[in-house]
């Protein structure tokens, strides 16, 4: 029994991995479906006499619909799952068991971070695969290179989001507080990106990369954002370990 296996069992036995996979798969399957039938849906629920005209949906619309849902509710599920693994100081007695048996919290943080990120990435890959398949069937095939590049950018963003949770968990104690503060931080980052038109330099810019790349935007546009994301991910993890080592129980 190792700390790596502990984190794997946490994902599997608490059904958190199931929650991640289900959430992303659900949005992967329903996103393109919604895009394909949005016009019909609006006609059915619309008011008499009001006619809504939408352009014919494209493969990019199917993927964008998936990205829109996955980047909100899917991300929220990821943050909650990550907080439950990384806020290990939330219950003092449980924290004592782990903390008094390791020389640095690095030994606890890294397996929790890596396994949670892997679980989230599996969810995203499954969701993207579902969205890709469903879009191909209903709206036509999206460009494969754009799909792969966009998904890779999404993976980088999830790695960053889980690192933010690790950092916040070293600042606050509770699971919900950790998830809540992480949500606020990511929202603020997104807002800042929108206000100063710097979204291609911020990690949150990667959130919509999959949708934008399938719509024709060049993948290279997101390289600055990717570089900043990788740097901030490493910094957040280093901060989490440093703060965690200094925290008193």
């Amino acid at each position: 029994m190792t700390l790596w296996r502990l984190e794997w069992l946490r994902l599997v036995r608490t059904r958190r991995l199931f929650a991640l996979l289900t959430a992303y798969a659900f949005f992967g399957l329903t996103g393109p479906l919604t895009a394909r039938f949005l016009g019909e849906i609006l006609r059915v629920v619309g008011t008499d006499g009001v006619q809504v005209q939408l352009p014919d949906p494209t493969p990019a619309d199917g993927i964008a619909q998936f990205v829109s849902n996955a980047s909100q509710i899917g991300l929220l599920v990821v943050l909650l799952v990550a907080a439950s693994a990384l806020a290990f100081d939330a219950r003092r007695e449980m924290a004592v068991f782990l903390r008094t048996r390791v020389t640095s919290v690095r030994s606890i943080v890294l397996p929790a971070y890596a396994v949670t990120t892997a679980g989230a990435v599996c969810g995203l890959l499954l969701g993207s695969a579902c969205a890709w398949y469903e879009t191909t069937v209903l709206l036509g095939a999206p460009p494969a290179k754009a799909m792969l590049a966009g998904t890779a950018y999404g993976v980088a963003f999830l790695a960053f989001a889980v690192a933010v949770v690790a950092f916040v968990a070293a600042l606050v104690r509770g699971v919900l507080a950790t998830a809540g503060v992480s949500v606020v931080l990511l929202l603020l980052t997104s807002l800042v990106g929108g206000l100063v038109r710097a979204s291609t330099w911020l990690p949150t810019g990667l959130l919509g990369a999959l949708g934008n790349l399938t719509a024709g935007r060049p993948a290279a546009d997101y390289l600055p954002s990717l570089a900043v994301t990788l740097i901030l991910t490493v910094a957040a993890l280093a901060g989490a370990i440093s703060l965690g080592n200094r925290r008193e129980l």
């Binding site: 029994m1 190792t2 700390l3 502990l6 069992l9 946490r10 036995r13 608490t14 219950r91 003092r92 007695e93 449980m94 004592v96 068991f97 782990l98 903390r99 008094t100 048996r101 390791v102 020389t103 008193e248 129980l249």
Partner: protein
């Protein structure tokens, strides 16, 4: 000394949880830390285990890194793990020294030793509080640590479980050093060879149990009477050598100025009262008496 602290202070704002503690724990001893609630016992154990930092003062630990095990007062574990997995994880994180029994047999051994062999493959979420305390103890001893820091290790256990834990602690004497805090003074008196009494963050006494008990408690006689208790009590209250008088149900506890005076006059007073004496003898000093005397 395996544990030595010097002028150890821990402040939370203006409040001093520990105020100049000089702790001396000899290697291989069983050291009992007693004190009323809020005395600073858990804070002191927290500092020794590295979970808290002192405001000032020094801590010197003779145990090697990774050879110190801590048991909190109410141990908790992830409820979806089995008991065996918890102990296996503890053994993996703080393995026994090279040459010791293999990890698997060691895990099975401590599970049996703590009475959890039958429940080892059940999920911890279904364990009672007493079973969690046993599991915590199993996880603590599985790595054969040099120093064990136990916070109220028997507080949640039934009498049989308490006996097993005390026996386990007693078995560790000489092989490892145990520092444990407890409210159950009879437990401390039974298994500890050294004791520290804390109150308001200060060490009121530290030393061998014998040193504490001999000459500390007020001398007293313990008398059991079949009849004439009221008359005897009235007469005893008039004696200048009687310092206190109380009943603990079936016995009269007579506090004395000196034992010598009781030996000279007590029998005569009881005879004068017409009391029928069932038993009579000096009251042995109890840790509880000394503790109350020191901390009140």
């Amino acid at each position: 000394m395996i544990v030595e602290t010097s002028a150890l202070v821990k402040r939370y704002g203006p409040h001093a949880a520990l105020d100049g503690i000089d702790l001396h724990v000899p290697a291989g001893s069983v050291y009992g830390l007693v004190g009323p609630n809020g005395a600073g016992k858990t804070t002191l154990l927290g500092i020794l285990s590295g979970l808290r930092r002192p405001t000032s003062g020094t801590v010197r630990l003779g145990a090697r890194p990774g050879r110190i095990a801590t048991l909190p007062d109410t141990p908790q574990f992830d409820p979806w793990l089995t008991g065996r997995e918890v102990v296996s994880l503890a053994a993996r994180l703080a393995p026994p020294p090279a040459g010791a029994t293999t990890a698997t047999s060691r895990v099975d051994g401590v599970l049996a030793q703590t009475g959890l062999a039958d429940a080892a493959d059940r999920r911890v979420g279904g364990y009672s509080r007493g079973m969690l305390q046993r599991l915590g103890l199993a996880a603590t001893v599985v790595g054969e640590p040099e120093l064990l820091l136990l916070d109220e290790p028997a507080s949640a256990l039934d009498p049989a479980g308490r006996r097993e834990v005390l026996d386990l602690i007693a078995q560790l004497r000489g092989h490892a050093t145990v520092v444990f805090s407890s409210h159950i003074l009879a437990d401390v008196q039974e298994v500890c060879d050294r004791i520290g009494i804390l109150r308001h963050g200060r060490m009121l006494f530290q030393g061998g149990l014998e040193d504490l008990l001999v000459g500390r408690a007020t001398p007293a006689y313990r008398i059991r009477l079949r009849t004439g208790a009221d008359q005897a009590e009235a007469l005893l209250r008039q004696q200048p050598w009687v310092t206190s008088l109380r009943s603990d149900g079936s016995h009269l506890i007579v506090g004395l100025r000196t034992v010598d005076e009781a030996q000279t006059h007590l029998a005569a007073v009881l005879a004068e009262a017409g009391a029928k004496v069932v038993s009579l003898g000096p009251q042995e000093a109890q840790l509880e008496d000394v503790f109350l005397e020191l901390t009140s």
